[in-house]
């Protein structure tokens, strides 16, 4: 498995497991801006996700934010641990993946770790 993370400008990360399969989560910067998460709504297995479209939302006590998909493909797994323990996203955002997507046919313009760090520093 490749350890490399890529980022969307909307603060999601993607980790490609192979050419057509990836995991998606949200960045450390995103979780710190959102604050303590209390609930995460996830899609279902077999749902289609599309580049730039929301596929999940994250709730803090007094806000809801959309999570946008950096790729187009089919959801093959969702991280059900997050349903019971949304705090995993706060404590270890890079481990706390939201979904796995296969049959990836398109992807957003993605940033490398370095490029993303530059973006959030701005």
């Amino acid at each position: 498995m490749s350890k490399e993370f890529f980022y969307a400008k909307t603060h999601e990360w993607v980790q490609f497991l192979d050419d057509t399969k990836a995991r998606i989560g949200i960045s450390d910067y995103a979780q710190s801006e959102l604050g303590d998460l209390v609930f995460i709504s996830l899609p279902e297995v077999d749902d289609e996700v599309n580049v730039g479209e929301e596929f999940a939302d994250v709730e803090s006590v007094k806000a809801v934010s959309n999570v946008y998909s950096p790729v187009t493909g089919t959801v093959t797994a969702v991280n059900e641990d997050l349903l019971d323990q949304p705090e995993l996203v706060n404590s270890d955002p890079m481990e706390a993946w939201f979904i796995e997507v296969e049959n990836i046919s398109d992807k957003a313009e993605l940033l490398s770790e370095l490029e993303y760090k530059k973006l959030i520093a701005e």
Binding site: V38, E59, V61, K62, A63, V64
Partner: protein, 446 residues
């Protein structure tokens, strides 16, 4: 003229001057002249409190308070203990807003938490909300709650209160949900037809227990049909009846709703009443409206807060599960005080008495010539009688004797074929004497 403005004209002038204005009208300089009113409102001059009191009492006197009531149909006269009225008249409770500031609203928050607990106990469900507008709205919200991506059709029994059915129809008319009314057989949901109508796109089945005609539905059979079908089972129930009748959870219900007016709230010409909703842990986040939760404060003390707020309109806006904001909080508190005063034994007694008096009333009515029960099934505290005389004449005779008789179903039910049918009701407040008097009056009606 009464006024609740404390500042005198002199004080108002001082305040105006201190902000650099001379006349009150200048405060409204941002309103374009074209939309400013040119003449005073056409509303009579104000009046003193004394005059107001007299005027309103004069209006009130044109309403007739019946000494005895045998009418239900969604609103019931039960005994309201004095403690209920006293507690809910406390000014702090009456004049507070929604408890946004938890630190100074523990009283309201705790009372709602206690109410939620009592509704869970009554219904056997795991989670309840802080109330919705009334029983009809609770049913409509439950139907909307049951919607899933591939399940958008609601099946509603024709034996549900017709006002509830109409409210659901209005609520879902703009959505992508659809509904079908399942006919009755012998006054209860026709289970064979219901079975037939269950499809892959069925979102929910709603029945009322006891139903609009007072009859007990075979909730177990419906529960077993729905079993593992992933169709939400919604039951609208009379909370008083739950003192002795099966809790919705015992039928395998997913969402229990109902009208809570019977729990210490006056008839009030139809409102304010109390819609309650309770469901399973699994559906918790789909439940609309305010919900109070327990937590701890910064020093580890028990504290109550409005919680799961991200479901709600002020955060989720157009994606909210419901638009509800204000609810019926004071009515919820009323119900909680009522249930505290009654306790389990008291509630059981109220339920048992209501049922017993209704059965006595039914048996006495059936002694009369030309009166017969329309349905054979078991009933709680309401039942339908068909009379072969003029319904209006019967009810008028009772009215003259200070009695509000049963409700003429006429076209006031889903099945538009109820000529000569009257929906009767009795509760614990109706005495044997009152029932015997009623029978006496009816004997004298030709």
């Amino acid at each position: 003229m009464a006024t609740y403005v404390p500042n005198t004209k002199e004080e108002q002038r001082q305040m105006l001057n201190s902000i650099g204005l001379n006349a009150v009208d200048e405060l409204y300089s941002s309103i374009p002249n074209e939309v400013k009113l040119k003449a005073p409102l056409n509303i009579p001059k104000g009046m003193s409190e004394m005059d107001l009191s007299k005027s309103i009492r004069d209006i009130a006197s044109k309403n007739k308070v019946f000494k005895t009531i045998f009418r239900g149909g969604g609103a019931y006269r039960h005994y309201i203990p004095a403690i209920v009225k006293q507690v809910t008249s406390k000014e702090e409770f009456i004049t507070a807003y929604t408890p946004y500031q938890a630190e100074i609203s523990q009283g309201v928050l705790q009372s709602i938490f206690e109410f939620q607990t009592m509704i869970c106990e009554l219904t056997g469900m795991q989670v309840a909300n802080a109330s919705v507008y009334d029983g009809a709205c609770a049913a409509a919200e439950a139907v909307i709650m049951s919607k899933e991506r591939k399940r958008k059709k609601a099946l509603i029994s024709a034996s549900v209160n017709p006002m509830t059915i109409e409210t659901i129809r209005t609520y879902i008319s703009g959505t992508d949900m659809d509904m079908e009314v399942i006919p009755t057989k012998e006054g209860v949901t026709d289970i064979e037809i219901l079975k037939d109508r269950l499809e892959d796109d069925t979102a929910c089945v709603l029945i009322q227990q006891p139903n609009y005609y007072g009859l007990l539905e075979d909730g177990d059979e419906i529960g077993s049909i729905l079993g593992d079908k992933d169709i939400k089972y919604i039951m609208s129930c009379n909370p008083i009846s739950l003192g002795i009748l099966k809790a919705p959870s015992e039928y395998g219900v997913d969402i229990a709703v109902g009208e809570g007016q019977a729990l210490g709230i006056g008839l009030s010409y139809g409102g304010p009443y109390l819609g309650f909703m309770a469901t399973t842990d699994k559906l918790m986040r789909k439940l609309p409206g305010r919900i109070v939760g327990e937590t701890k404060d910064s020093k580890g003390r028990r504290a109550f807060v409005l919680t799961l707020q991200a479901r709600e309109q002020h955060i989720r806006r157009e994606k909210a599960s419901s638009n509800i904001c204000s609810n019926q909080a004071l009515c919820a508190m009323t119900a909680a005080v009522y249930l505290s005063a009654m306790g389990r034994d008291g509630l059981e007694k109220v339920a048992r008495l209501s049922m017993s008096k209704a059965h006595y009333l039914a048996s006495r009515l059936c002694e009369l010539d030309g009166y017969e029960m329309v349905y054979k099934g078991d009933f709680f505290n309401e039942f339908v009688i068909r009379v072969n005389t003029d319904v209006d004449k019967v009810l008028k005779a009772l009215e003259n004797g200070g009695i509000l008789g049963g409700y003429p179903l006429g076209d006031n039910s889903y099945n538009n074929e109820n000529k000569g049918e009257i929906l009767w009701c009795a509760t614990e407040v109706n005495t044997k004497d009152e029932i015997d008097t009623l029978i006496q009056i009816l004997k004298e009606v030709e």
